[in-house]
């Protein structure tokens, strides 16, 4: 089936479960994979909503998009709605979820406090509860703390499975970078990964951005990714 995007948005190529280093988030990842693959225990498919919350770079969007991709492969009709673009979207994106098997709402905090949007999302919750559709939501904080004005909405979001996404430790960040590199066909030694971690911004977006740049440049220059290679990139900057 397909993923319907609210406008011309592409799922990130890298957003897949096998490309996500779970760290302390293994349970959340397993549950999402079960919902997306429709192969979890009975209560899993009856979970009205799965709510992931965490800070910047904890992998919320990655996991949500990975779930979209997996559900799509399992034959589900998926709707992915990134609310950080809410200003560009019409409320209708939330009003037309009728045919989707899986509704994914990214960055809930962007519409928290906006009465119309909250009401529309409340209706989505009710729709998913009354039908077989599953709802996945990501946000920067717990349902009770994300700034929602409608208590009815906050309690409905808290009714399902709520998982905080924990940031990775330094060792896990090294492992995550190496996993991502390996999936791109790159060999990244532990020493190089640590070198990067000790010298560059340490949030995962920045680290993965850097990895991509290293990948492209090393390919163009036909060079291995080594510490001297990274220094040469630094010199270019």
């Amino acid at each position: 089936m397909s993923t319907q995007l609210s406008f011309d948005i592409r799922l990130r190529d890298s957003a897949a479960f096998e490309n996500f280093f779970p760290g302390a988030n293994r349970e959340a990842v397993s549950h999402l994979a079960a919902v997306a693959g429709d192969n979890g225990p009975g209560w899993s498919s009856r979970t009205p909503v799965t709510y992931l919350w965490g800070g910047h770079g904890t992998g919320k969007t990655h996991l949500l998009q990975a779930a979209c991709r997996a559900a799509q492969q399992a034959g589900q009709t998926v709707l992915y709605i990134p609310l950080d673009c809410a200003a560009k979207l019409s409320l209708r994106v939330l009003e037309d979820v009728g045919a989707a098997d899986l509704v994914c709402i990214d960055d809930l905090q962007c519409i928290a406090g906006l009465a119309d949007w909250e009401t529309a999302l409340f209706n989505v919750c009710e729709h998913c509860r009354a039908s077989t559709a599953a709802l996945l939501v990501t946000a920067s904080a717990r349902p009770a703390d994300v700034g929602l004005r409608m208590p009815d909405l906050a309690t409905r979001l808290g009714w399902g499975l709520v998982y905080p996404l924990h940031a990775l430790s330094d060792n896990e960040k090294v492992a995550a970078m190496r996993l991502r590199a390996r999936n791109r066909g790159l060999e990244l030694s532990e020493a190089v990964a640590r070198y990067v971690l000790n010298r560059y911004p340490r949030d995962m977006h920045a680290l993965f951005g850097l990895l991509e740049r290293m990948d492209q440049t090393s390919l163009a220059m036909q060079r291995q990714i080594t510490i001297p290679f990274i220094r040469s990139l630094e010199a270019e900057d």
Binding site: W43, S44, A100, N123, T155, G158, G160, V162
Partner: protein, 447 residues
């Protein structure tokens, strides 16, 4: 061999012409319904509809005409979905989606959820009266308790009871027209009815029901036109001795922004409240919920959870779900250790929230006294009673020892705290106002 239909042939051609991404995103989700030389396409949502209309519909029309050598083919597109009829084709759909046609003005009042019955509802002191009333209404609709108005905080089971009554009506009178609708949806449908010149259909639908269950009526606040419409619907149903059940998050008279005549009608039947469930009921809810999933939840574990998750049933069920997930994905036994670990973020939040300072501040505000009064030596009843209640709340809601609690109330002895707790319990048993104050404070602090 079965011949491919025009739409299938068209799909094959489009698949060749478009990129896989374009085809999968915009074309594959479409349903096609053939009527001679016209094809009606159903898009799963408005975005797909508009996108296809803008970019692909001319090509689809052209292709269908060419492929069938039929000259002019009319192609229309709208939002909707249909389950597998003869002429209905969806390219590889796994399962039919529920029918919902977005552009229609027909009311979409929902069916009842069959899981919401009296059997699946857990009775406790907090909901006893509401449950008895709902049961009475289910067995004898349109009679004594009409309307039945159930009010209480969020997530306490109002919808469950209301729908249990509805399901009971249907059980007694198969074929009875019972509709459940959330107030917000009522408003939206009415607006749609007005826009599409179909307000008469809307009125007809509601006024022909045997029972109307309308949830969260507080959403009507400030919406005058909807109130007007509902008022007439409501009167028509009541006059015809049809049952109306209403829920709200507050008492009818507190619905500021709802017309007086409607408020007084709401209160003309029976008004009952649902309070937050007390500890034993919370335990019973957990055990029942676990049992429906074939899980035998140990009493000690159930008490452990119920003592920590207090504010509402949804939160309680959410906590249980999380524990079941942890047990399933880690293969561990559902014991207190697992429960503490899996609820750590939730519990940490609750424990962080409720401090003695917080309790003192809330109690002082509630009784309109100063926090300093709670620390003072004053024994006047206006101060002593709130102080005792605050101490009892501190014992109930925090992990502090009694000497610590005594200390936080102006250096009092732990026996004073113990005395306060006993006194509050004794008073609450005798005086319903003290009980209400205590419950209200508990609700405020655990929310």
């Amino acid at each position: 061999m079965k011949q491919a239909s025009p739409w299938q042939k068209c799909l094959d051609r489009l698949e060749e012409e478009l990129s896989a991404q374009q085809f999968n995103t915009w074309i594959r989700p479409l349903h096609a319904v053939n009527h001679g030389k016209s094809v009606r396409l159903l898009a799963p949502n408005r975005f797909v509809m508009e996108w296809v209309k803008d970019r692909f519909i001319d090509r689809i029309t052209e292709l269908l005409g060419q492929l069938e050598m039929a000259g002019e083919f009319t192609v229309s597109i709208e939002v909707g979905s249909q389950s597998g009829g003869k002429e209905d084709e969806r390219s590889g759909a796994k399962k039919p989606a529920t029918v919902r046609v977005g552009s229609s003005a027909a009311p979409v009042a929902g069916r009842l959820n069959a899981e919401f019955t009296f059997d699946t509802h857990v009775e406790g002191k907090s909901n006893q009266l509401a449950r008895a009333a709902a049961r009475q209404v289910g067995e004898n609709p349109g009679a004594a308790y009409n309307p039945l108005f159930i009010y209480g905080g969020v997530g306490l089971g109002k919808t469950h009871l209301m729908q249990a009554a509805g399901n009971e009506i249907i059980r007694h009178t198969p074929g009875a027209q019972v509709a459940y609708i959330h107030s917000e949806r009522f408003v939206a449908d009415m607006v749609k009815g007005l826009q599409h010149n179909a307000i008469n259909d809307f009125k007809k639908f509601y006024r022909n029901l045997d029972a109307l269950l309308i949830d969260d009526i507080q959403f009507f606040v400030g919406k005058e036109r909807s109130q007007e419409e509902f008022f007439h619907t409501f009167n028509a149903l009541l006059e015809g001795q049809r049952q109306v059940i209403i829920t709200a998050d507050r008492f009818p008279k507190e619905l500021v922004g709802v017309e007086e005549r409607l408020v007084s009608r709401f209160g003309s039947g029976l008004t009952v409240s649902i309070d937050p469930p007390e500890l034993e009921t919370r335990v019973a809810i957990l055990k029942k919920k676990a049992a429906t999933e074939n899980i035998d939840l140990d009493d000690g574990v159930a008490f452990f959870i119920a003592k920590r998750v207090r504010s509402n049933v949804r939160e309680l069920e959410g906590a249980l779900r999380r524990i079941m997930a942890s047990a399933y994905f880690t293969g561990r036994k559902m014991d207190i250790e697992l429960v503490s670990e899996s609820l750590k973020d939730l519990l940490a939040f609750q424990e962080r929230q409720v401090t003695i300072n917080n309790i003192q501040k809330t109690v002082a505000e509630y009784y309109k006294i100063r926090v300093g009064d709670l620390h003072s030596k004053s024994r006047s009843r206006q101060v002593a009673r709130p102080r005792q209640i605050a101490m009892a709340l501190a014992k109930e809601l925090t992990e502090h020892s009694l000497p610590e609690i005594g200390d936080a109330f102006g250096g009092r002895d732990h026996t004073t705290v113990l005395h306060a707790c006993r006194k509050v319990k004794e008073l609450a048993d005798k005086d319903v106002r003290i009980q209400e104050d205590f419950d209200n404070l508990m609700r405020i602090l655990s929310a």
